[in-house]
Symmetry: C2
Subunit: 313 residues, 2 copies
Amino acid sequence: MKTSLCDILNIEYPIIAGGMVWCSGWELASAVSNEGGLGLIGAGSMSSAVLKEHIQKTKAATSRPFGVNLPLMSAEADNNIRIVMEESVPIVFTSAGNPSKYTKTLKEHGIKVVHVIANEKFALKAQDAGVDAVVAEGFEAGGHNGKEETTTLVLVKQIADKVSIPLIAAGGIASGEQIAAMFCLGAKGVQIGSLFAASNESSAHINFKNAVFAAMEGDTKLFFRKLSPTRLLKGDFFTKVEEAESRGASAEELLELIGIGRSRKGIFEGDLANGELEIGQAASLINKPLSVKEIFKNLLTEFDSAKKRLRYE
Amino acid sequence: MKTSLCDILNIEYPIIAGGMVWCSGWELASAVSNEGGLGLIGAGSMSSAVLKEHIQKTKAATSRPFGVNLPLMSAEADNNIRIVMEESVPIVFTSAGNPSKYTKTLKEHGIKVVHVIANEKFALKAQDAGVDAVVAEGFEAGGHNGKEETTTLVLVKQIADKVSIPLIAAGGIASGEQIAAMFCLGAKGVQIGSLFAASNESSAHINFKNAVFAAMEGDTKLFFRKLSPTRLLKGDFFTKVEEAESRGASAEELLELIGIGRSRKGIFEGDLANGELEIGQAASLINKPLSVKEIFKNLLTEFDSAKKRLRYE
Protein backbone atom coordinates (compact mmCIF):
# COMPACT_ATOMS: atom_id res chain seq x y z
CA MET A 1 0.00 0.00 0.00
CA LYS A 2 3.05 2.25 0.11
CA THR A 3 2.81 5.51 -1.85
CA SER A 4 4.77 8.75 -2.22
CA LEU A 5 2.75 10.14 0.69
CA CYS A 6 4.36 7.58 3.00
CA ASP A 7 7.81 8.93 2.18
CA ILE A 8 6.75 12.54 2.75
CA LEU A 9 5.08 11.84 6.11
CA ASN A 10 7.45 9.04 7.10
CA ILE A 11 4.64 6.53 7.71
CA GLU A 12 4.15 2.89 6.76
CA TYR A 13 0.57 2.99 5.43
CA PRO A 14 -1.06 6.04 3.78
CA ILE A 15 -4.02 5.77 6.16
CA ILE A 16 -4.78 8.85 8.21
CA ALA A 17 -7.26 9.00 11.07
CA GLY A 18 -9.08 12.34 10.82
CA GLY A 19 -8.58 14.76 13.70
CA MET A 20 -12.16 14.78 14.90
CA VAL A 21 -13.68 16.95 17.64
CA TRP A 22 -14.35 15.00 20.86
CA CYS A 23 -13.00 11.75 19.33
CA SER A 24 -9.37 12.28 18.42
CA GLY A 25 -7.38 12.54 21.63
CA TRP A 26 -3.97 11.08 22.39
CA GLU A 27 -5.30 7.51 22.74
CA LEU A 28 -6.71 7.35 19.21
CA ALA A 29 -3.85 9.32 17.64
CA SER A 30 -1.10 7.21 19.20
CA ALA A 31 -2.91 3.93 18.49
CA VAL A 32 -3.21 4.80 14.78
CA SER A 33 0.43 5.90 14.53
CA ASN A 34 1.54 2.75 16.33
CA GLU A 35 -0.18 0.67 13.64
CA GLY A 36 1.83 2.47 10.95
CA GLY A 37 -0.82 4.97 9.89
CA LEU A 38 -0.96 8.63 10.81
CA GLY A 39 -2.89 9.55 13.93
CA LEU A 40 -4.14 13.11 14.28
CA ILE A 41 -5.13 14.94 17.43
CA GLY A 42 -8.30 16.98 16.82
CA ALA A 43 -7.56 20.43 18.22
CA GLY A 44 -10.99 21.74 17.20
CA SER A 45 -12.51 20.81 20.54
CA MET A 46 -9.48 21.61 22.71
CA SER A 47 -8.20 24.63 24.58
CA SER A 48 -4.50 25.26 24.07
CA ALA A 49 -3.71 23.76 27.47
CA VAL A 50 -5.64 20.58 26.66
CA LEU A 51 -4.02 20.36 23.24
CA LYS A 52 -0.57 20.62 24.82
CA GLU A 53 -1.40 17.80 27.22
CA HIS A 54 -2.63 15.56 24.40
CA ILE A 55 0.48 16.24 22.33
CA GLN A 56 2.74 15.31 25.23
CA LYS A 57 0.76 12.15 25.99
CA THR A 58 0.84 11.14 22.32
CA LYS A 59 4.62 11.56 22.27
CA ALA A 60 4.87 9.33 25.32
CA ALA A 61 2.63 6.67 23.74
CA THR A 62 4.25 6.42 20.30
CA SER A 63 7.67 6.87 18.79
CA ARG A 64 6.16 7.21 15.33
CA PRO A 65 5.03 10.36 13.47
CA PHE A 66 1.69 11.84 14.48
CA GLY A 67 -0.08 15.09 13.68
CA VAL A 68 -2.53 17.71 14.87
CA ASN A 69 -5.59 18.93 12.99
CA LEU A 70 -5.99 22.68 13.40
CA PRO A 71 -9.15 24.45 12.20
CA LEU A 72 -7.78 27.86 11.21
CA MET A 73 -11.01 29.74 11.96
CA SER A 74 -10.84 28.74 15.61
CA ALA A 75 -10.39 31.46 18.23
CA GLU A 76 -7.46 29.41 19.56
CA ALA A 77 -5.71 29.11 16.18
CA ASP A 78 -2.80 31.48 16.96
CA ASN A 79 -2.13 29.88 20.33
CA ASN A 80 -2.42 26.37 18.92
CA ILE A 81 0.01 27.15 16.10
CA ARG A 82 2.50 28.33 18.71
CA ILE A 83 2.05 25.14 20.72
CA VAL A 84 2.54 22.72 17.80
CA MET A 85 5.79 24.57 17.00
CA GLU A 86 6.98 24.59 20.62
CA GLU A 87 6.19 20.91 20.93
CA SER A 88 7.82 20.07 17.59
CA VAL A 89 4.76 18.24 16.30
CA PRO A 90 6.00 16.66 13.04
CA ILE A 91 2.82 17.10 10.95
CA VAL A 92 -0.05 19.60 10.96
CA PHE A 93 -3.32 19.30 9.06
CA THR A 94 -5.02 22.67 8.63
CA SER A 95 -8.66 23.09 7.69
CA ALA A 96 -11.46 25.66 7.57
CA GLY A 97 -9.34 28.68 6.69
CA ASN A 98 -6.70 30.20 4.44
CA PRO A 99 -3.64 27.93 4.06
CA SER A 100 -1.38 30.83 3.08
CA LYS A 101 -1.60 32.30 6.57
CA TYR A 102 0.49 29.74 8.51
CA THR A 103 2.01 27.29 6.02
CA LYS A 104 5.32 29.16 5.57
CA THR A 105 5.89 29.59 9.31
CA LEU A 106 5.08 25.96 10.07
CA LYS A 107 7.36 24.72 7.30
CA GLU A 108 10.20 26.93 8.53
CA HIS A 109 9.88 25.03 11.80
CA GLY A 110 10.34 21.74 9.93
CA ILE A 111 6.66 20.81 10.18
CA LYS A 112 4.95 19.05 7.27
CA VAL A 113 1.69 20.79 6.36
CA VAL A 114 -1.41 19.22 4.82
CA HIS A 115 -4.53 21.27 4.06
CA VAL A 116 -8.13 20.05 3.82
CA ILE A 117 -10.24 21.28 0.88
CA ALA A 118 -13.53 20.40 -0.82
CA ASN A 119 -13.07 21.85 -4.30
CA GLU A 120 -10.50 22.26 -7.06
CA LYS A 121 -10.00 25.98 -6.54
CA PHE A 122 -8.87 25.57 -2.94
CA ALA A 123 -6.76 22.54 -3.82
CA LEU A 124 -4.75 24.70 -6.20
CA LYS A 125 -4.65 27.55 -3.67
CA ALA A 126 -3.29 25.20 -1.01
CA GLN A 127 -0.69 23.87 -3.43
CA ASP A 128 0.36 27.45 -4.23
CA ALA A 129 0.66 28.13 -0.50
CA GLY A 130 3.32 25.41 -0.37
CA VAL A 131 1.56 22.63 1.52
CA ASP A 132 3.00 19.10 1.27
CA ALA A 133 -0.31 17.39 0.43
CA VAL A 134 -4.03 18.12 0.27
CA VAL A 135 -7.02 16.23 1.65
CA ALA A 136 -10.01 16.29 -0.71
CA GLU A 137 -13.05 15.72 1.48
CA GLY A 138 -16.33 14.83 -0.16
CA PHE A 139 -20.04 15.21 0.65
CA GLU A 140 -20.08 11.92 2.59
CA ALA A 141 -17.94 13.29 5.41
CA GLY A 142 -19.33 13.84 8.90
CA GLY A 143 -19.52 17.26 10.50
CA HIS A 144 -18.56 20.34 8.50
CA ASN A 145 -18.68 19.91 4.79
CA GLY A 146 -18.11 21.72 1.47
CA LYS A 147 -20.74 24.01 -0.05
CA GLU A 148 -20.55 22.33 -3.48
CA GLU A 149 -21.73 18.95 -2.12
CA THR A 150 -19.31 17.19 -4.45
CA THR A 151 -19.01 13.52 -3.52
CA THR A 152 -15.67 11.84 -2.92
CA LEU A 153 -15.94 9.80 -6.15
CA VAL A 154 -16.30 12.94 -8.26
CA LEU A 155 -14.09 15.24 -6.17
CA VAL A 156 -11.02 12.99 -6.14
CA LYS A 157 -11.27 12.35 -9.90
CA GLN A 158 -11.77 16.09 -10.46
CA ILE A 159 -8.65 17.11 -8.51
CA ALA A 160 -6.21 14.19 -8.86
CA ASP A 161 -4.95 15.20 -12.29
CA LYS A 162 -4.80 18.91 -11.47
CA VAL A 163 -2.39 18.92 -8.51
CA SER A 164 1.22 17.75 -8.46
CA ILE A 165 1.40 17.20 -4.68
CA PRO A 166 -0.08 14.02 -3.18
CA LEU A 167 -3.85 13.94 -2.85
CA ILE A 168 -5.53 12.30 0.15
CA ALA A 169 -9.13 11.17 -0.34
CA ALA A 170 -11.68 11.61 2.45
CA GLY A 171 -15.41 11.19 2.95
CA GLY A 172 -17.33 7.92 2.99
CA ILE A 173 -14.27 5.67 3.32
CA ALA A 174 -14.53 2.87 5.88
CA SER A 175 -13.07 -0.17 4.11
CA GLY A 176 -9.97 -1.34 2.29
CA GLU A 177 -11.92 -1.80 -0.95
CA GLN A 178 -12.70 1.91 -0.86
CA ILE A 179 -9.02 2.72 -0.28
CA ALA A 180 -8.16 0.75 -3.43
CA ALA A 181 -10.93 2.60 -5.27
CA MET A 182 -9.43 5.94 -4.25
CA PHE A 183 -6.00 4.83 -5.46
CA CYS A 184 -7.56 4.05 -8.86
CA LEU A 185 -8.67 7.69 -9.02
CA GLY A 186 -5.15 8.89 -8.30
CA ALA A 187 -5.25 9.44 -4.53
CA LYS A 188 -2.02 8.65 -2.69
CA GLY A 189 -3.67 8.17 0.67
CA VAL A 190 -6.95 8.28 2.54
CA GLN A 191 -8.24 10.08 5.60
CA ILE A 192 -10.78 8.00 7.49
CA GLY A 193 -13.10 9.59 10.03
CA SER A 194 -16.24 7.75 11.16
CA LEU A 195 -14.60 4.33 11.43
CA PHE A 196 -12.02 5.68 13.87
CA ALA A 197 -14.57 7.89 15.65
CA ALA A 198 -16.41 4.69 16.59
CA SER A 199 -13.25 2.72 17.46
CA ASN A 200 -12.44 1.58 20.99
CA GLU A 201 -9.68 4.16 21.29
CA SER A 202 -11.88 7.12 20.33
CA SER A 203 -12.78 9.52 23.16
CA ALA A 204 -16.41 9.59 22.03
CA HIS A 205 -19.06 8.40 24.50
CA ILE A 206 -20.26 4.79 24.20
CA ASN A 207 -23.82 6.03 23.59
CA PHE A 208 -22.57 7.90 20.54
CA LYS A 209 -20.62 4.89 19.28
CA ASN A 210 -23.65 2.64 19.73
CA ALA A 211 -25.76 5.09 17.72
CA VAL A 212 -23.16 4.87 14.93
CA PHE A 213 -23.25 1.05 14.96
CA ALA A 214 -27.06 1.16 14.71
CA ALA A 215 -27.10 3.64 11.81
CA MET A 216 -28.57 2.43 8.52
CA GLU A 217 -28.59 3.91 5.02
CA GLY A 218 -30.19 7.35 5.00
CA ASP A 219 -29.58 7.89 8.72
CA THR A 220 -27.19 10.79 8.20
CA LYS A 221 -28.12 13.97 6.35
CA LEU A 222 -26.53 17.27 5.47
CA PHE A 223 -28.08 20.28 7.21
CA PHE A 224 -27.32 23.97 7.82
CA ARG A 225 -26.73 24.86 4.17
CA LYS A 226 -27.62 28.45 5.14
CA LEU A 227 -24.79 28.52 7.70
CA SER A 228 -22.03 25.97 7.18
CA PRO A 229 -23.18 22.60 5.75
CA THR A 230 -22.91 19.90 8.45
CA ARG A 231 -23.67 16.19 8.31
CA LEU A 232 -25.59 14.86 11.31
CA LEU A 233 -26.75 11.46 12.53
CA LYS A 234 -30.45 10.82 13.10
CA GLY A 235 -31.74 11.68 16.55
CA ASP A 236 -33.84 14.28 18.35
CA PHE A 237 -31.70 17.21 17.30
CA PHE A 238 -31.62 15.97 13.66
CA THR A 239 -35.43 15.85 13.69
CA LYS A 240 -35.68 19.39 15.08
CA VAL A 241 -33.30 20.76 12.46
CA GLU A 242 -35.06 18.88 9.66
CA GLU A 243 -38.41 20.33 10.70
CA ALA A 244 -36.98 23.86 10.95
CA GLU A 245 -35.30 23.70 7.54
CA SER A 246 -38.37 22.18 5.92
CA ARG A 247 -40.42 25.23 6.85
CA GLY A 248 -37.65 27.58 5.64
CA ALA A 249 -36.05 28.62 8.93
CA SER A 250 -33.65 31.56 8.57
CA ALA A 251 -29.90 31.43 9.25
CA GLU A 252 -30.50 33.37 12.47
CA GLU A 253 -33.14 30.93 13.69
CA LEU A 254 -30.88 27.98 12.86
CA LEU A 255 -27.94 29.56 14.74
CA GLU A 256 -30.14 29.90 17.78
CA LEU A 257 -31.32 26.32 17.45
CA ILE A 258 -27.70 25.08 17.42
CA GLY A 259 -26.86 26.97 20.57
CA ILE A 260 -23.53 26.29 22.26
CA GLY A 261 -21.73 23.10 23.21
CA ARG A 262 -24.04 20.72 21.38
CA SER A 263 -21.36 18.58 19.75
CA ARG A 264 -19.63 18.08 23.12
CA LYS A 265 -22.99 17.06 24.59
CA GLY A 266 -23.73 14.58 21.82
CA ILE A 267 -20.35 13.08 21.03
CA PHE A 268 -18.42 13.36 24.31
CA GLU A 269 -21.18 13.21 26.93
CA GLY A 270 -23.43 10.80 25.02
CA ASP A 271 -26.57 12.93 25.40
CA LEU A 272 -28.40 11.61 22.35
CA ALA A 273 -31.52 13.65 23.09
CA ASN A 274 -29.92 17.11 23.09
CA GLY A 275 -26.53 16.58 21.53
CA GLU A 276 -25.35 17.21 17.98
CA LEU A 277 -24.18 13.89 16.55
CA GLU A 278 -21.60 14.47 13.81
CA ILE A 279 -20.75 11.41 11.74
CA GLY A 280 -20.19 10.55 8.09
CA GLN A 281 -22.40 8.64 5.66
CA ALA A 282 -20.10 5.63 6.11
CA ALA A 283 -21.82 5.10 9.48
CA SER A 284 -24.08 2.59 7.72
CA LEU A 285 -20.97 0.50 6.98
CA ILE A 286 -19.83 0.39 10.62
CA ASN A 287 -21.60 -2.18 12.74
CA LYS A 288 -19.55 -3.12 15.77
CA PRO A 289 -16.85 -1.95 18.18
CA LEU A 290 -13.32 -2.52 16.89
CA SER A 291 -9.87 -1.66 18.16
CA VAL A 292 -7.52 0.36 15.97
CA LYS A 293 -5.43 -2.79 15.56
CA GLU A 294 -8.43 -4.75 14.24
CA ILE A 295 -9.38 -1.87 11.94
CA PHE A 296 -5.92 -1.84 10.35
CA LYS A 297 -5.99 -5.60 9.90
CA ASN A 298 -9.37 -5.38 8.14
CA LEU A 299 -8.36 -2.46 5.94
CA LEU A 300 -5.22 -4.22 4.74
CA THR A 301 -7.04 -7.48 4.01
CA GLU A 302 -9.85 -5.71 2.16
CA PHE A 303 -7.34 -3.63 0.20
CA ASP A 304 -5.59 -6.77 -0.99
CA SER A 305 -8.82 -8.46 -2.02
CA ALA A 306 -9.86 -5.36 -3.99
CA LYS A 307 -6.52 -5.38 -5.80
CA LYS A 308 -7.09 -9.01 -6.75
CA ARG A 309 -10.62 -8.24 -7.89
CA LEU A 310 -9.32 -5.68 -10.32
CA ARG A 311 -6.53 -7.90 -11.55
CA TYR A 312 -8.82 -10.77 -12.43
CA GLU A 313 -11.84 -8.88 -13.74
CA MET B 1 -12.62 -5.35 -18.51
CA LYS B 2 -14.72 -8.47 -19.02
CA THR B 3 -16.86 -9.57 -16.06
CA SER B 4 -19.67 -12.02 -15.33
CA LEU B 5 -22.13 -9.32 -16.38
CA CYS B 6 -20.75 -9.46 -19.92
CA ASP B 7 -21.65 -13.15 -20.17
CA ILE B 8 -25.16 -12.56 -18.83
CA LEU B 9 -25.92 -9.66 -21.17
CA ASN B 10 -23.79 -10.96 -24.05
CA ILE B 11 -21.78 -7.76 -24.33
CA GLU B 12 -18.06 -7.05 -24.75
CA TYR B 13 -17.58 -4.34 -22.11
CA PRO B 14 -19.66 -3.98 -18.91
CA ILE B 15 -20.40 -0.35 -19.75
CA ILE B 16 -24.05 0.60 -19.97
CA ALA B 17 -25.37 3.91 -21.25
CA GLY B 18 -28.29 4.91 -19.03
CA GLY B 19 -31.71 5.13 -20.69
CA MET B 20 -32.20 8.85 -20.20
CA VAL B 21 -35.28 10.90 -21.00
CA TRP B 22 -34.86 13.07 -24.14
CA CYS B 23 -31.27 11.80 -24.65
CA SER B 24 -31.39 8.07 -25.21
CA GLY B 25 -32.97 7.44 -28.60
CA TRP B 26 -31.96 4.85 -31.18
CA GLU B 27 -28.88 6.82 -32.27
CA LEU B 28 -27.26 6.79 -28.84
CA ALA B 29 -28.41 3.25 -27.97
CA SER B 30 -27.14 1.69 -31.20
CA ALA B 31 -23.84 3.62 -31.11
CA VAL B 32 -23.09 2.34 -27.59
CA SER B 33 -24.01 -1.24 -28.47
CA ASN B 34 -21.89 -1.04 -31.63
CA GLU B 35 -18.87 -0.14 -29.47
CA GLY B 36 -19.40 -3.29 -27.40
CA GLY B 37 -21.23 -1.70 -24.48
CA LEU B 38 -24.94 -1.85 -23.78
CA GLY B 39 -27.07 0.93 -25.23
CA LEU B 40 -30.44 1.60 -23.63
CA ILE B 41 -33.42 3.39 -25.14
CA GLY B 42 -35.01 5.70 -22.55
CA ALA B 43 -38.73 4.96 -22.70
CA GLY B 44 -39.50 7.47 -19.95
CA SER B 45 -40.02 10.29 -22.43
CA MET B 46 -41.66 8.23 -25.18
CA SER B 47 -45.18 7.25 -26.11
CA SER B 48 -45.57 3.58 -26.97
CA ALA B 49 -45.63 4.42 -30.68
CA VAL B 50 -42.38 6.40 -30.44
CA LEU B 51 -40.77 3.66 -28.35
CA LYS B 52 -41.68 1.08 -31.01
CA GLU B 53 -40.11 3.23 -33.71
CA HIS B 54 -36.89 3.64 -31.70
CA ILE B 55 -36.66 -0.09 -31.03
CA GLN B 56 -37.03 -0.87 -34.71
CA LYS B 57 -34.47 1.75 -35.72
CA THR B 58 -32.02 0.45 -33.10
CA LYS B 59 -32.39 -3.08 -34.47
CA ALA B 60 -31.64 -1.77 -37.93
CA ALA B 61 -28.56 0.11 -36.72
CA THR B 62 -26.90 -2.63 -34.64
CA SER B 63 -26.72 -6.39 -34.64
CA ARG B 64 -25.56 -6.38 -31.00
CA PRO B 65 -27.65 -6.58 -27.82
CA PHE B 66 -29.39 -3.41 -26.69
CA GLY B 67 -32.01 -2.64 -24.08
CA VAL B 68 -34.89 -0.42 -23.05
CA ASN B 69 -35.21 1.45 -19.76
CA LEU B 70 -38.80 1.33 -18.52
CA PRO B 71 -39.88 3.44 -15.55
CA LEU B 72 -42.59 1.24 -14.00
CA MET B 73 -44.59 4.16 -12.56
CA SER B 74 -45.18 5.56 -16.07
CA ALA B 75 -48.77 5.67 -17.36
CA GLU B 76 -47.49 3.88 -20.45
CA ALA B 77 -45.82 1.04 -18.50
CA ASP B 78 -48.29 -1.70 -19.44
CA ASN B 79 -48.23 -0.77 -23.12
CA ASN B 80 -44.46 -0.45 -23.16
CA ILE B 81 -44.00 -3.85 -21.53
CA ARG B 82 -46.16 -5.32 -24.30
CA ILE B 83 -44.09 -3.61 -26.98
CA VAL B 84 -40.69 -4.75 -25.68
CA MET B 85 -42.03 -8.34 -25.67
CA GLU B 86 -43.56 -8.06 -29.15
CA GLU B 87 -40.34 -6.58 -30.48
CA SER B 88 -38.20 -9.20 -28.70
CA VAL B 89 -35.98 -6.58 -27.06
CA PRO B 90 -33.20 -8.69 -25.47
CA ILE B 91 -32.73 -6.66 -22.27
CA VAL B 92 -35.00 -4.47 -20.14
CA PHE B 93 -33.92 -2.16 -17.32
CA THR B 94 -36.80 -1.36 -14.98
CA SER B 95 -36.79 1.54 -12.53
CA ALA B 96 -39.07 3.59 -10.31
CA GLY B 97 -41.46 0.84 -9.32
CA ASN B 98 -41.91 -2.67 -7.97
CA PRO B 99 -39.69 -5.23 -9.77
CA SER B 100 -41.93 -8.15 -8.80
CA LYS B 101 -44.72 -6.86 -11.04
CA TYR B 102 -43.21 -7.60 -14.48
CA THR B 103 -39.95 -9.51 -13.98
CA LYS B 104 -41.44 -13.00 -14.28
CA THR B 105 -43.42 -12.18 -17.44
CA LEU B 106 -40.44 -10.54 -19.11
CA LYS B 107 -38.15 -13.45 -18.24
CA GLU B 108 -40.67 -15.96 -19.59
CA HIS B 109 -40.31 -14.10 -22.89
CA GLY B 110 -36.55 -14.66 -22.79
CA ILE B 111 -35.79 -11.09 -21.81
CA LYS B 112 -32.97 -10.31 -19.36
CA VAL B 113 -34.17 -8.00 -16.59
CA VAL B 114 -32.09 -5.49 -14.63
CA HIS B 115 -33.62 -3.29 -11.93
CA VAL B 116 -32.40 0.10 -10.70
CA ILE B 117 -32.29 0.71 -6.94
CA ALA B 118 -30.78 3.20 -4.49
CA ASN B 119 -30.65 1.22 -1.24
CA GLU B 120 -29.88 -2.24 0.11
CA LYS B 121 -33.49 -3.14 0.89
CA PHE B 122 -34.62 -2.72 -2.70
CA ALA B 123 -31.50 -4.46 -4.01
CA LEU B 124 -32.50 -7.57 -2.05
CA LYS B 125 -36.14 -7.19 -3.09
CA ALA B 126 -35.12 -7.02 -6.76
CA GLN B 127 -32.90 -10.08 -6.33
CA ASP B 128 -35.84 -11.94 -4.76
CA ALA B 129 -38.01 -10.91 -7.71
CA GLY B 130 -35.59 -12.81 -9.96
CA VAL B 131 -33.84 -10.03 -11.84
CA ASP B 132 -30.52 -10.83 -13.55
CA ALA B 133 -28.62 -7.85 -12.14
CA VAL B 134 -29.19 -4.65 -10.19
CA VAL B 135 -28.03 -1.11 -10.81
CA ALA B 136 -27.10 0.73 -7.60
CA GLU B 137 -27.48 4.41 -8.36
CA GLY B 138 -25.96 6.94 -5.99
CA PHE B 139 -26.64 10.54 -4.99
CA GLU B 140 -24.46 11.88 -7.81
CA ALA B 141 -26.88 10.75 -10.52
CA GLY B 142 -28.83 13.24 -12.61
CA GLY B 143 -32.61 13.48 -12.57
CA HIS B 144 -34.56 11.31 -10.14
CA ASN B 145 -32.64 10.09 -7.18
CA GLY B 146 -32.92 8.02 -3.99
CA LYS B 147 -34.34 9.44 -0.77
CA GLU B 148 -31.40 8.23 1.35
CA GLU B 149 -28.89 10.40 -0.58
CA THR B 150 -26.32 7.61 -0.31
CA THR B 151 -23.38 8.31 -2.59
CA THR B 152 -22.11 5.79 -5.11
CA LEU B 153 -18.91 5.17 -3.11
CA VAL B 154 -20.89 4.16 -0.01
CA LEU B 155 -23.86 2.55 -1.78
CA VAL B 156 -21.84 0.15 -3.94
CA LYS B 157 -19.70 -0.93 -0.99
CA GLN B 158 -22.86 -1.33 1.10
CA ILE B 159 -24.61 -3.61 -1.41
CA ALA B 160 -21.82 -5.47 -3.23
CA ASP B 161 -21.32 -8.09 -0.53
CA LYS B 162 -25.03 -8.52 0.13
CA VAL B 163 -26.27 -9.61 -3.30
CA SER B 164 -25.25 -12.66 -5.30
CA ILE B 165 -26.33 -11.30 -8.69
CA PRO B 166 -24.05 -8.85 -10.54
CA LEU B 167 -24.09 -5.28 -9.27
CA ILE B 168 -23.84 -2.35 -11.68
CA ALA B 169 -22.59 0.93 -10.22
CA ALA B 170 -24.15 4.23 -11.31
CA GLY B 171 -23.96 7.88 -10.33
CA GLY B 172 -20.99 10.19 -10.80
CA ILE B 173 -19.09 7.92 -13.19
CA ALA B 174 -17.60 9.61 -16.27
CA SER B 175 -14.10 8.12 -16.55
CA GLY B 176 -12.30 4.81 -16.78
CA GLU B 177 -10.54 5.43 -13.47
CA GLN B 178 -13.94 5.54 -11.81
CA ILE B 179 -14.92 2.28 -13.52
CA ALA B 180 -11.84 0.63 -12.02
CA ALA B 181 -12.75 2.16 -8.65
CA MET B 182 -16.20 0.60 -8.83
CA PHE B 183 -14.70 -2.79 -9.68
CA CYS B 184 -12.58 -2.51 -6.51
CA LEU B 185 -15.83 -2.19 -4.55
CA GLY B 186 -17.22 -5.32 -6.16
CA ALA B 187 -19.29 -3.89 -9.02
CA LYS B 188 -19.35 -6.00 -12.18
CA GLY B 189 -20.31 -3.15 -14.46
CA VAL B 190 -21.16 0.53 -14.60
CA GLN B 191 -24.06 2.56 -15.91
CA ILE B 192 -22.95 5.93 -17.21
CA GLY B 193 -25.45 8.74 -17.74
CA SER B 194 -24.22 12.32 -18.06
CA LEU B 195 -21.23 11.52 -20.27
CA PHE B 196 -23.48 9.86 -22.86
CA ALA B 197 -26.22 12.49 -22.43
CA ALA B 198 -23.68 15.05 -23.65
CA SER B 199 -22.26 12.84 -26.44
CA ASN B 200 -22.70 13.65 -30.11
CA GLU B 201 -25.20 10.81 -30.53
CA SER B 202 -27.48 11.94 -27.69
CA SER B 203 -30.84 13.43 -28.74
CA ALA B 204 -30.40 16.29 -26.29
CA HIS B 205 -30.33 19.84 -27.68
CA ILE B 206 -26.94 21.42 -28.31
CA ASN B 207 -27.78 24.23 -25.86
CA PHE B 208 -28.24 21.63 -23.14
CA LYS B 209 -24.98 19.87 -24.06
CA ASN B 210 -23.10 23.18 -24.03
CA ALA B 211 -24.50 23.92 -20.58
CA VAL B 212 -23.15 20.54 -19.42
CA PHE B 213 -19.69 21.28 -20.86
CA ALA B 214 -19.65 24.63 -19.04
CA ALA B 215 -20.71 23.14 -15.67
CA MET B 216 -18.24 23.47 -12.80
CA GLU B 217 -18.12 21.89 -9.35
CA GLY B 218 -21.24 22.76 -7.35
CA ASP B 219 -23.29 23.53 -10.48
CA THR B 220 -25.72 20.66 -9.93
CA LYS B 221 -27.84 20.28 -6.82
CA LEU B 222 -30.49 17.94 -5.50
CA PHE B 223 -33.96 19.50 -5.16
CA PHE B 224 -37.56 18.42 -4.57
CA ARG B 225 -36.86 16.35 -1.46
CA LYS B 226 -40.53 16.93 -0.52
CA LEU B 227 -41.66 15.29 -3.79
CA SER B 228 -39.13 13.02 -5.49
CA PRO B 229 -35.47 14.08 -5.11
CA THR B 230 -34.14 15.32 -8.46
CA ARG B 231 -30.70 16.60 -9.44
CA LEU B 232 -30.72 19.71 -11.62
CA LEU B 233 -28.12 21.77 -13.44
CA LYS B 234 -27.76 25.49 -12.65
CA GLY B 235 -29.99 27.81 -14.63
CA ASP B 236 -33.09 29.97 -14.27
CA PHE B 237 -35.33 27.11 -13.16
CA PHE B 238 -32.68 25.88 -10.67
CA THR B 239 -32.57 29.38 -9.16
CA LYS B 240 -36.36 29.55 -8.86
CA VAL B 241 -36.54 26.16 -7.16
CA GLU B 242 -33.66 27.00 -4.83
CA GLU B 243 -35.39 30.21 -3.76
CA ALA B 244 -38.72 28.42 -3.21
CA GLU B 245 -37.17 25.63 -1.14
CA SER B 246 -35.09 28.06 0.89
CA ARG B 247 -38.26 29.77 2.11
CA GLY B 248 -39.91 26.41 2.86
CA ALA B 249 -42.24 26.02 -0.13
CA SER B 250 -44.77 23.19 0.30
CA ALA B 251 -44.94 20.07 -1.87
CA GLU B 252 -48.04 21.52 -3.58
CA GLU B 253 -46.31 24.76 -4.42
CA LEU B 254 -43.29 22.90 -5.78
CA LEU B 255 -45.50 20.68 -7.94
CA GLU B 256 -47.08 23.77 -9.42
CA LEU B 257 -43.66 25.32 -10.01
CA ILE B 258 -42.54 22.22 -11.95
CA GLY B 259 -45.59 22.34 -14.18
CA ILE B 260 -45.67 20.09 -17.23
CA GLY B 261 -43.17 19.31 -19.96
CA ARG B 262 -40.23 21.13 -18.39
CA SER B 263 -37.62 18.42 -18.96
CA ARG B 264 -38.57 18.22 -22.66
CA LYS B 265 -38.25 21.99 -22.87
CA GLY B 266 -34.83 22.02 -21.20
CA ILE B 267 -33.15 18.90 -22.52
CA PHE B 268 -34.77 18.37 -25.94
CA GLU B 269 -35.74 21.89 -26.99
CA GLY B 270 -32.73 23.60 -25.41
CA ASP B 271 -34.81 26.25 -23.62
CA LEU B 272 -32.33 26.99 -20.84
CA ALA B 273 -34.50 29.76 -19.39
CA ASN B 274 -37.65 27.73 -18.73
CA GLY B 275 -36.53 24.14 -19.04
CA GLU B 276 -35.63 21.62 -16.36
CA LEU B 277 -32.01 20.56 -16.91
CA GLU B 278 -31.42 17.08 -15.49
CA ILE B 279 -27.77 16.05 -15.29
CA GLY B 280 -25.48 14.29 -12.84
CA GLN B 281 -22.73 15.69 -10.64
CA ALA B 282 -20.19 14.28 -13.11
CA ALA B 283 -21.10 17.21 -15.38
CA SER B 284 -18.07 19.02 -13.94
CA LEU B 285 -15.86 16.27 -15.40
CA ILE B 286 -17.29 16.63 -18.94
CA ASN B 287 -15.82 19.50 -20.92
CA LYS B 288 -16.22 18.93 -24.64
CA PRO B 289 -18.31 17.19 -27.31
CA LEU B 290 -17.27 13.59 -27.92
CA SER B 291 -18.59 10.78 -30.07
CA VAL B 292 -19.53 7.48 -28.47
CA LYS B 293 -16.50 5.96 -30.20
CA GLU B 294 -14.17 8.51 -28.59
CA ILE B 295 -15.82 8.01 -25.20
CA PHE B 296 -15.20 4.26 -25.30
CA LYS B 297 -11.59 4.79 -26.33
CA ASN B 298 -11.04 7.16 -23.40
CA LEU B 299 -12.81 4.91 -20.88
CA LEU B 300 -10.71 1.89 -21.85
CA THR B 301 -7.42 3.83 -21.75
CA GLU B 302 -8.26 5.39 -18.37
CA PHE B 303 -9.35 2.02 -16.99
CA ASP B 304 -6.00 0.51 -17.93
CA SER B 305 -4.04 3.34 -16.38
CA ALA B 306 -6.04 3.01 -13.15
CA LYS B 307 -5.28 -0.71 -13.03
CA LYS B 308 -1.59 0.08 -13.40
CA ARG B 309 -1.80 2.72 -10.68
CA LEU B 310 -3.15 0.19 -8.23
CA ARG B 311 -0.64 -2.45 -9.20
CA TYR B 312 2.35 -0.22 -8.60
CA GLU B 313 1.18 1.70 -5.56
